[in-house]
Symmetry: C2
Subunit: 549 residues, 2 copies
C-alpha cells in the first residue's frame, strides 16, 4: 500500500528527528527494557550508558549545576553531554524528543567553558544549564511544526525572543520536545512524532501539551525546560511526571516567536514558562534570568514588572480546594491534599477549606473563548496536509461553538471573563486567603487518550492567576488508594463527574504514578506564589510521612 | 406634525438635563451675548453672574484649590458653588452639560467642610475639587445614555469604579458632560443634548468624544474632568479648547463602569483619564489620587504599577513630528511646532526631527480594529430607538469593514498591531528619542462637522503610548497664519491630504482658536511623559514669545 501524501510529509519530520539523534549514545536495542516494562525511571542508573559521574550530574538541579560550574568543579561540556546521553536514552524509552541539538549544544558549552577559563566568571545566571525546548518555540534555521504535518518543513527565521534571553543568560539548548497535534491535548500525540510516554508508567500519558517537557523533567533529561500553557499545558505534564512547573500571570514572560495556528488570538492568552526536574528554586532561577533582562523593553505586549525578590514566609493563609464542585478528584489526589493539610497545619500555617466559586460557569466561558471561530484555523491546518484529526483534537475542538461566534457574542464572553476574574479575586481577598492548593487534574497521569477534563488547571488560565506544580512526594499506592466505602458509594453529580470517576476503576491502572499538587496565588503575585510553593514543599518534605499516607 | 417615538424618547433626556439646571444661577436671556458672538471666554468676567471672588476661584487650578482649602482659606462649598455658577453659564453658552448635580455636590462639599472643621485635615488629595464627568461614566441611580436615544432612561446601579476612587480622594462631582452619538466623533453632537460648542469660537467644534469636557475645561467650568479616549477622545477636546488632557497607557486607570455599546471589545482598548483647565500638575494630581489607591487590587484587568514620583529633567531628547506623512498640518499648528523647537533648542534640550513610521499602515490596522463587526452593535443601538445616524457617526462606522471580519481575519490584524507596536517602540529607542511632540490634529479645532482625520491622536492609541495635550500658548492669528507662498503651492499627496488641506481656506475660519500640542512618551512611561510635558510647557512659557510667532 502506498503512503498518503500527508504520511510522506510526516516522514520528513521523523527524518529530521532521526538524523539528529547522536547515534553514539544509543543504548543497543537488546539492552532496552521490554516494552511491557511500565516504570523506566531506574534505567539510567541500571543500563550502564551513563557513568556514575554522569548520573550524578543529571541528578543535580540547575541551581546546583550553576554553583558547581561557578566553582570550576564541572564544565559546561561535561554537563551537557551527561544530559544529552540521558536524553537519548529517554527518547528511546519515551519518544519525547522532536530534534536533538547535540552539536550546537556541545559547541555552545565549549564556548561557555572558554569564557569561564579566560575570565573566571560565568556568562550569566543560567551559565551552562541545559534547557529543553518545546518544539513550537521557534529556533532560527530549524523547522517549527507545532505538531502539524502541514508545517513540518517550515523553517523559522529567528529564535523565539525567550530563547534569546535565556541564551544571553548562559543557557544551552540541547533537545527539542514533543507536543500534541494542535497543542490542545492534556496529552502528547501527533501524526509526526507519535506518542510520548510517561516515565513512571508507560501506559500513562506524560500530559500535555508540553508533554515532551513533562517526560524530560520526569526522566531528568534536562534540569529546566520551556513549556507553554493556555489550559494546563505546563502544569499537567509537570504534575503527571513528578516534576515542577510554573504558569506565570499572562504578559510577564515573552511569547513572541512561539508558532501557533491562531497567532493574534487574544480571547484567552497563553503563557510561556519553565518546567523543572528538580526544584522550585530552579523555576525561580529561570524567571529571574528572564525578567532581569527587562523583556518588556523589546516585547511591548509585556507588562513592565521586574521580578521581585520575595522572602518566603509562613505567615500566610492557605486554602485547600478539595473538589471544584464539578468533578470529584480520585483517591490518590485527595490523599495528597490531606497530607498537605495535616503537615501545613502541624507546621502552624493557617489552612482553610476553599469553596469553589462558579467553576462550571467559568468553564462555559473559557471553553467557548478557546475557539470563538469554531476551531476553523486548527481544522484548516489539518486539511492543509490531509492528516487525520486525532481523537483528543476532536475532543478539544468540540469545546468551541459549532458555528463561529459573532464578534459581539465573543465580546459578551470576554466581558463575563473580566467580571468573573474581578469577582473571584474579590472573594479570595474577602476570605483572607493568600494561596489555594488544589488538584492539578481529577487524577494522577491519565491513561493514554483519557485526559479529558482540563478545568483544574484551566480555571487559573481563565482567572489569570499564577500557579505552580510541585510533587507531593507521594505516588499511587494500591493499598492506600483502593476505593473504599466512601468512594464506592459515591454518586456522581453529573455525566462528566461520572465519566471521570469511572476512570478510577482501581489504583492499579495508575501504578507508580507520582501525585503532583497545584498552588495558585493572586493575580500578578507570581513571586509570592513561587515562594509559598517553596514553603509548602519544604513542610511536606519535613520529617517522616504522616501515618496513613 | 407629531413627534416620532425616538424624538419623544430623546426629549426625556433633555428633560433630565433641564430639570437639573439650578435655575437661580441662569443668566437672563437678554444678558447673554448674541448667538453670533463667537468667542465667549470673557463672558464670566463681564456678565456679573459670578462675583470677583468666584471668578478668582474658578481661575485656580485643582492643585491651588486643594492648597487653599488645606489652609482654610476656601471652603469646599464656596468652591463648588463658584464652579456650578460658571457651569450654568457655560451651559447656556455652549450646551456642554447633560445633567447638573448641584444638590448632591453642595451637600458633599458641606460634608467635606465639616470634616475639615472637625479634624483640621483634608479628606484626601482631591479634597473639595469639583470634577466634571463625561456622561457615559456611570453614576449610581442616574441615567446613563452614552449619547444613544435608546438608553436615555437606563439607570446605573452603581458608580463607575473610577468615581468611587475619586470620591474617596475627596472629589466633588458637580456636572455631567456631553458626548457625541456612538462616542466615535472627534466632535460633540447627539440627538438628545444636541451640539456642544467651542468656547473660543462657537462655530467650531469643542472636539470629542469628550467634547463636553473640552468645553468645560476651556470655559473653566471645572478644574478637572473625566474623559475617555480610544482614538483621541480626551486629547482632541483638550487641544481644541485650550485645555490639558492625558491619555494614559491602557490598563492603568480603571474603565469599569463606563457604559459602551461594545462592552467586552478588546481589539483596541479605550482608556479613561483626566482633562484639565489649568495645569499639567492637576493631571498628575488626578493620576496620583487614583493610582495611589491601588485600583488593580479591585479591577483585575489593570496592571499593578504604582504611580511613580518622577522628577522632571531637561536631560531628554525630544523629537518633533512635523507631519505624519499622510496629512499635512495647517499653518497654525506648524507655527506652534516651530515655536516649540526654537524654545526647546534655546533652552538646551536636544531636539530632533521625527520621521513617522508607516502611519498609513497603522491606520489601516486600527480603523478595522475599531469595528471588526462592521459596527453592528452601534447600528443596532440606533435601530433600537429609530434615531437617525448623524453624519459623523456614519463617517466613523465607515472605517469598519462592510461585512464583519471573521475571527481569524481580526487575529491577523491584532498580530500586526502587536508587531507594529514592538517595531515602533524599537525605532523610538534606536533613534535615542524619549518623547515625540506632534500635532494633535491636522489643524486647530475643526469647523463643526468637519473633524474627519483622527490619526494624529489615534496613532498613539494603536501604539498604546501615553500622550499629553498642553496649550502652546498660541492662538490662530490671521496675520501669522495666512497661507503664504510655500503653503499656496502645496500639492497634496492624496485625496485625504487634499480634503484636509482644503479645510484651511483662511485663518479667519478658525479665528481665536487655541493651538494645542501633543507629547507622547514610551509605552508605560506615563509619569515620565507628564513630567516631560511640564518641562516643555515651562520652557514654552519662559520669556517673551520668539519673534515671528
Amino acid at each position: 500500500m502506498s503512503l498518503q501524501p500527508w504520511e510522506r510529509q510526516a516522514q520528513k519530520g521523523r527524518d529530521i528527528l532521526q538524523n539528529s539523534v547522536p547515534k553514539q549514545w544509543l543504548l543497543p536495542e537488546d539492552k532496552l527494557p521490554p516494552a511491557s516494562q511500565k516504570d523506566v525511571t531506574d534505567v539510567p542508573v541500571q543500563c550502564g550508558l551513563l557513568s556514575e559521574h554522569e548520573v550524578a550530574i543529571t541528578n543535580l538541579s540547575a541551581t546546583q549545576l550553576v554553583a558547581e560550574m561557578g566553582q570550576g568543579k564541572l564544565s559546561a561540556e561535561e554537563v551537557v553531554i551527561a544530559f544529552l546521553k540521558r536524553s537519548v536514552l529517554g527518547h528511546q524509552l519515551l519518544n519525547f524528543a522532536t530534534e536533538f541539538l547535540a552539536d550546537e549544544a556541545i559547541s555552545r558549552a565549549k564556548e561557555l567553558d572558554d569564557y569561564y577559563k579566560k575570565t573566571g566568571k560565568l556568562v550569566g545566571p543560567l551559565h551552562g544549564v541545559p534547557i529543553s525546548v518545546k518544539e513550537h518555540v521557534a529556533i532560527k534555521n530549524k523547522t517549527c511544526n507545532t505538531g502539524y504535518v502541514a508545517w513540518v518543513d517550515q523553517v523559522a527565521s529567528e529564535d523565539a525572543y525567550l530563547l534569546q534571553l535565556l541564551h544571553k543568560a548562559g543557557a544551552v539548548f540541547h533537545v527539542r520536545t514533543n507536543q500534541p497535534q494542535s497543542l490542545m491535548h492534556l496529552c502528547c500525540e501527533n501524526n509526526i512524532t507519535g506518542k510520548t510516554l510517561n516515565p513512571f508508567n508507560r501506559t500513562l500519558t506524560p500530559g500535555g501539551s508540553s508533554g515532551g517537557e513533562g517526560a524530560a523533567a520526569g526522566f531528568r533529561c534536562s534540569p529546566l525546560g520551556i513549556g507553554t500553557d493556555i489550559g494546563g499545558s505546563i502544569r499537567a505534564p509537570a504534575a503527571f511526571c513528578g516534576g515542577y512547573g510554573f504558569k506565570p500571570t499572562a504578559l510577564r514572560n515573552p511569547m513572541a516567536g512561539c508558532r501557533v495556528a491562531c497567532l493574534g488570538q487574544e480571547t484567552i492568552l497563553g503563557v510561556i514558562g519553565p518546567l523543572g526536574s528538580s526544584s522550585l528554586d530552579d523555576l525561580e532561577l529561570f524567571q529571574r534570568a528572564v525578567l532581569d533582562q527587562e523583556p518588556w523593553e523589546t516585547d511591548t505586549s509585556l507588562v513592565p514588572l521586574p521580578w521581585k525578590r520575595v522572602t518566603p514566609t509562613r505567615d500566610i493563609t492557605i486554602a485547600i480546594m478539595w473538589d471544584d464542585g464539578c468533578v470529584r478528584p480520585h483517591p490518590p489526589v485527595t490523599r495528597a491534599l490531606r497530607l498537605a493539610k495535616e503537615k501545613l497545619s502541624a507546621a502552624g500555617i493557617t489552612v482553610v477549606d476553599w469553596e469553589p466559586y462558579k467553576h462550571q460557569y467559568g468553564w462555559d466561558i473559557l471553553s467557548k473563548l478557546y475557539y470563538p471561530d469554531g476551531a476553523s484555523l486548527q481544522r484548516k491546518m489539518l486539511q492543509e496536509s490531509g492528516e487525520p484529526a486525532l481523537p483528543l483534537s476532536e475532543w478539544a475542538f468540540s469545546y468551541g461553538p459549532k458555528t463561529p461566534l459573532t464578534h459581539p457574542e465573543a465580546w459578551v464572553l470576554q466581558f463575563q471573563r473580566t467580571m468573573y476574574r474581578a469577582e473571584y479575586h474579590g472573594l479570595i481577598k474577602s476570605r483572607g486567603v493568600d494561596f489555594i492548593i488544589s488538584p492539578a487534574y481529577p487524577g494522577v497521569a491519565a491513561v493514554y487518550g483519557e485526559s479529558h477534563y482540563w478545568h483544574y488547571t484551566a480555571i487559573w488560565n481563565l482567572l489569570d492567576l499564577p500557579a505552580v506544580i510541585f510533587p507531593s512526594g507521594l505516588h499511587v499506592d494500591p493499598k492506600l488508594d483502593a476505593l473504599n466505602g466512601e468512594d464506592e458509594s459515591y454518586k456522581p453529580r453529573n455525566e462528566i463527574d461520572e465519566r471521570e470517576w469511572k476512570k478510577y476503576q482501581s489504583p492499579e491502572r495508575y501504578e507508580g504514578a507520582p501525585i503532583g499538587l497545584q498552588i495558585a496565588g493572586r493575580h500578578f503575585k507570581d513571586e509570592e506564589t513561587l515562594a509559598a510553593a517553596k514553603i509548602v514543599e519544604d513542610i511536606m518534605k519535613e520529617g517522616a510521612p504522616v501515618s496513613g499516607h
